[in-house]
Amino acid sequence: MERNAFDVRLPDLGEVDEVRVVQWLQGIGSTVTEGEDLLEVETEKTTFVVPAPASGRLVEIAAVEGAAIQRGAVLGRIDRSE
């Protein structure tokens, strides 16, 4: 399991250091495809959709809705073993 766990991280958005999680577009247990819209984060009236970094099953949500997160922070985890 561990070997196939893949971290979902906040991408480098340029000069943006902190964002707030607006909502997850996929729930725990959902099967996601690499590049698919995964969650929305917001910074100063800009909503950014974070894509799934890998295909697999969303097994963990580390940053809940409303949480303030920093650049590079782990937002969740995708299990690629299936």
Binding site: D12, D37, K45
Partner: protein, 233 residues
């Protein structure tokens, strides 16, 4: 330091004239999907909406100051939308600009993109003799403590939609019906500040020029048929 870039990227301008908010949102989504797939160049839509109040994700109906009866009498629609932010009014006399832009061609920098929109607007206003600026932490363009342009952007697959709304000559009665973005700020139009009428199309063309400067675009006009039909994009 967003100095002028050498224009080297093709972009198209799609002037819609007057159109409903909902219809334009569908069009934005279509063009957004095509841009994401690489089937269209950067597109800048310009439009004047029929009267509408939109509530963003964090929007509260408490910031709607008019009664349903008053809204109906004025012909104002109320819609809940996907963008961030609170309450916004769009209507005649307001120049709305929706850039459908792939930020991978613009340094993958969300903040810089928003600042580019703000700076292009500020430069356009300066040419009209209006001193406007940005306010740290409050996106949009301001003339002292009054808001002249609202900004709200949505980015998916590094491609943008939504954009900016610049008040050229907006009905002040309609503005009084909301508390913009939930703040107790007043909105203001270019015409109110100058005390004379200003042609919206002229402001549009001036703003497009400033946007092209900021984003390094060589801009040409396109039509709905062309942008939706052209297989080569």
């Amino acid at each position: 330091m967003a100095g002028s870039t050498v224009p080297n990227r093709r972009a198209v301008h799609l002037p819609l004239g007057r159109a409903d908010y909902g219809w334009t949102l569908d069009l934005q989504r279509t063009l957004h999907a095509r841009r994401k797939a690489g089937a269209a160049p950067d597109v800048v839509i310009t439009v004047e909406h029929n009267p509408v109040i939109t509530l963003g994700r964090s929007g509260s109906r408490e910031h709607l100051l008019a009664s349903p009866g008053e809204l109906k009498r004025e012909g104002i629609e109320v819609l809940e939308v996907e963008r961030g932010g609170d309450v916004t009014y769009h209507g005649p006399g307001q120049l709305v600009v929706y850039p459908i832009v792939d930020l991978r061609g613009h340094g993958r920098d969300v903040r810089r993109f928003v600042r580019g929109l703000e700076e292009a607007t500020i430069a356009t206003l300066a040419d009209l003799g209006i001193e406007a600026g940005r306010r740290e932490g409050y996106p949009g363009v301001w003339v002292s403590d009054r808001k002249i342009a609202a900004i709200g952007v949505y980015v998916s697959g590094w491609v943008t939609r939504h954009g900016l709304a610049l008040n050229v000559a907006v009905n002040p009665v309609h503005f009084a019906m909301i508390r913009p973005c939930g703040l107790s700020v007043e909105a203001v139009s270019i015409c109110d500040l100058l005390g004379r009428t200003v042609d919206l199309d002229r402001v549009r063309d001036a703003l497009l020029e400033r946007l092209a400067e900021r984003f390094g675009w060589v801009m040409e006009a396109t039509s709905l048929d062309e942008v939706l039909g052209g297989a080569s994009g």
